[in-house]
């Protein structure tokens, strides 16, 4: 990372030394480049803005409106009130927090253990373990055998069904192992001479020096766990166990047999069938905002680590 930064600033310096006045071609190029990039950015951003604006709009005005929104149509927080009054969504929120908290903790512990094992140089069974893990990147049993196995080992319709099957990601082990291996060997040798045990070396030397990579894989696991829904759909039966995303699927994607229940069952008095449909639409927007904001809030704080993470993952895949 440091090298990269230096290369960047070095290039800037070199360029400015030889900086020539812009030609017409350059100006045209720049103008087009800026325009196109602005357009791409607006297209990426607009859907998010649309959802946000719609979520505070008057539901009936929203139903009547079609096309682009540039400001909210009226202003109401009724949709949010409905969302927060809906018990099933709150339970889903609670479940998601439990699954994400416990799941990510187990993810990190297991990944650190795996990466530490694979980063040892003098391990007799290291190659065996490495091959065992690498094979799983190319071969798998497939969905159905996996599902049958989960049922057989009682990872069905309970908390652990949401935690254990996703406890590890091979890719993240490899990323973290690469980062462990990149640490200078002298540090560890010095610690060993000082009489530190292997456990102490891991906790006191290796982990503190790998904070950036740990942050990256923490983010990957966190986002992955927060957004996960398929395992829940396949492995959970009781609605009280459903995570937020599975409830979101029921609210937003109605191409399945399950219909949405929220909105009509809320505490707000709904006059007519027309406004009930309107409210149901409004609730969709509010539910999107409520379920997405936590992840988008975390994201800017961790953005600086992304590049490093992607980079590390790519050089030693």
């Amino acid at each position: 990372m440091v090298e990269k930064g230096m290369a960047l600033s070095g290039r800037k310096k070199l360029r400015s030394r030889h900086w020539k006045p812009k030609t017409t071609g350059d100006r045209v190029f720049d103008a087009m480049n800026y325009t196109l990039l602005t357009a791409i950015t607006l297209i990426c951003f607009y859907p998010l803005l649309h959802i946000l604006l719609a979520s505070v709009s008057n539901p009936n005005a929203l139903m009547a409106h079609s096309g682009i929104l540039l400001k909210p149509l009226g202003f109401t927080l009724d949709g949010y009130k409905l969302v927060f009054k809906d018990n099933s969504l709150l339970v889903g929120y609670k479940n998601t927090i439990i699954y994400v908290g416990l799941g990510t903790l187990i993810n990190m512990v297991m990944t650190i253990m795996g990466a530490f094992v694979l980063s040892r140089k003098d391990l007799y069974f290291k190659n065996f373990i490495m091959i065992l893990i690498t094979i799983t990147m190319f071969f798998g049993g497939g969905l159905i055998p996996w599902f049958l196995l989960m049922k057989d080992i009682y990872l069905y319709n309970n908390l652990w069904a949401m935690i254990l099957p996703t406890a590890l990601s091979t890719w993240n082990i490899i990323i973290l192992r690469t980062s462990f291996q990149a640490l200078p060997a002298e540090l560890e040798e010095a610690a060993t001479i000082d009489g530190a045990s292997q456990a102490a070396i891991l906790v006191r030397v290796i982990l503190p020096l790998s904070k950036a990579t740990l942050a990256v894989i923490f983010l990957y696991y966190l986002v992955g766990n927060w957004n996960s829904w398929f395992n829940a759909m396949v492995l959970l039966k009781d609605r009280e166990l459903f995570p937020l995303q599975l409830l979101m699927k029921e609210i937003l994607v109605a191409n399945d047999s399950t219909a949405t229940t929220i909105g009509s069952a809320g505490g707000v008095v709904i006059d007519s069938a027309q406004s009930s449909t309107a409210f149901r639409e409004l609730v969709k927007y509010c539910a999107i905002v409520v379920s997405t904001v936590p992840i988008l809030v975390v994201y800017p704080f961790l953005q600086k680590y992304f590049v490093k993470g992607v980079y590390v993952g790519s050089i030693k895949g």
């Binding site: 070199l14 190029f29 959802i51 096309g67 682009i68 297991m110 795996g114 292997q198 979101m248 992840i295």
Partner: protein, 323 residues
């Protein structure tokens, strides 16, 4: 006595290391690295249970598996399920859809982030560059369920995308997800929307490590920006493009089912139903467990063959390869 003692002394020491030197090394290794092995146990156990466990389960593809009878009691049927799949009405449909969806992905989805990275690389204004990056990365973090929810909203009768399309073509459309001809564009372009920024990171990282002397030399020679892009930047990031391209080609017959089952419906099965979604529907919805395992195994074999073949071609032609 002396001789005997000598013999005794020699005998074991000559004997012991010779027949089992490995056992001794292992013992030493276990003693020294017991803590590492202690950590390895849960990790290895996890891989054995959750990755290798289902691999054994693949055998039900050759059986007529009935959950009530259990694995051992169910009858062996050989390749019956494979033949059923090859001769079934949906074989060509799911093959064609899987291939075409991935071809769309490679033509549009694979090139888009490269183009974005090339464009961003030409921006000198750090603030502008940074804001473009921040905003284009954002959709990557939105959950698939919510992204598909947004797609449903935007392509509904009165949705923004539907409205824009009506305005451009002058035709009337109802919900776009109901037309099988729109499925591939919706699937592909929503994917680009979600991942263009994120996927460009890797190319930008590769571009930032290009030797500045190359650009300098080109500038002295008076070479224009587009030419520099084409003759310097692009060739310099080719290795990383090749690697990712191998993955993309290797995945031609593989596609995720999560997004598909969130977007398709019986009206669009014609273009939307791929191998993975077919496996999911037949296996978990209609409980044809052995049949869908066979379909899954078939596609896994094809996928690996494809990945292997592309890797070989890449190694021959460009000296860049995965292994």
């Amino acid at each position: 006595m002396e001789i005997v003692r000598k013999l005794r002394n020699i005998a074991p020491s000559a004997k012991a290391p010779k027949p089992n030197p490995t056992r001794k090394t292992i013992k030493k290794d276990l003693k020294k690295n017991w803590f590492v092995y202690l950590l390895a146990i849960p990790v290895v156990a996890w891989f054995l249970v959750f990755c290798y466990g289902p691999m054994w389960g693949v055998l039900i593809a050759f059986k007529d598996y009935k959950p009530l009878l259990g694995f051992a009691e169910s009858d062996w049927v050989g390749f019956k399920h494979f033949i059923d799949f090859f001769q079934g009405p949906y074989f060509w449909r799911v093959i064609k859809n899987t291939l075409l969806l991935n071809v769309w992905g490679i033509v549009f989805g694979f090139t888009a982030p490269i183009i974005l990275a090339l464009m961003l690389n030409e921006i000198r204004d750090g603030k502008f560059k940074k804001s473009v990056q921040t905003i284009t990365y954002m959709p990557h973090f939105i959950s698939l369920v919510v992204v598909c929810g947004i797609i449903h909203i935007f392509t509904a009768d009165e949705g923004v995308v539907t409205q824009v399309l009506q305005w451009i073509t002058g035709k009337d459309y109802t919900s776009l997800l109901g037309y099988s001809s729109f499925f591939r564009p919706i699937y592909t372009f929503s994917g680009i929307w979600q991942n263009i920024g994120w996927d460009s990171i890797i190319y930008l990282a590769a571009m930032s490590s290009i030797d500045p002397a190359l650009y300098e030399a080109a500038e002295i020679d008076g070479i224009g920006r587009i030419k520099k892009m084409w003759y310097i930047t692009l060739p310099q990031i080719t290795p990383i493009i090749v690697i990712l391209f191998i993955f993309a080609i290797g995945g031609l017959m593989a596609s995720g089912y999560e997004k598909i089952i969130l977007l398709y419906n019986p009206l669009t099965y014609d273009t939307a139903d791929v191998i993975a979604s077919y496996v999911y529907r037949r296996g978990l919805r209609e409980a044809s467990l052995s049949f869908s395992t066979a379909v899954g195994l078939f596609s896994a074999v094809i996928n690996f063959a494809l990945l292997w073949a592309t890797n070989r071609v890449a190694r021959r032609t460009s000296e860049v390869s995965l292994w």
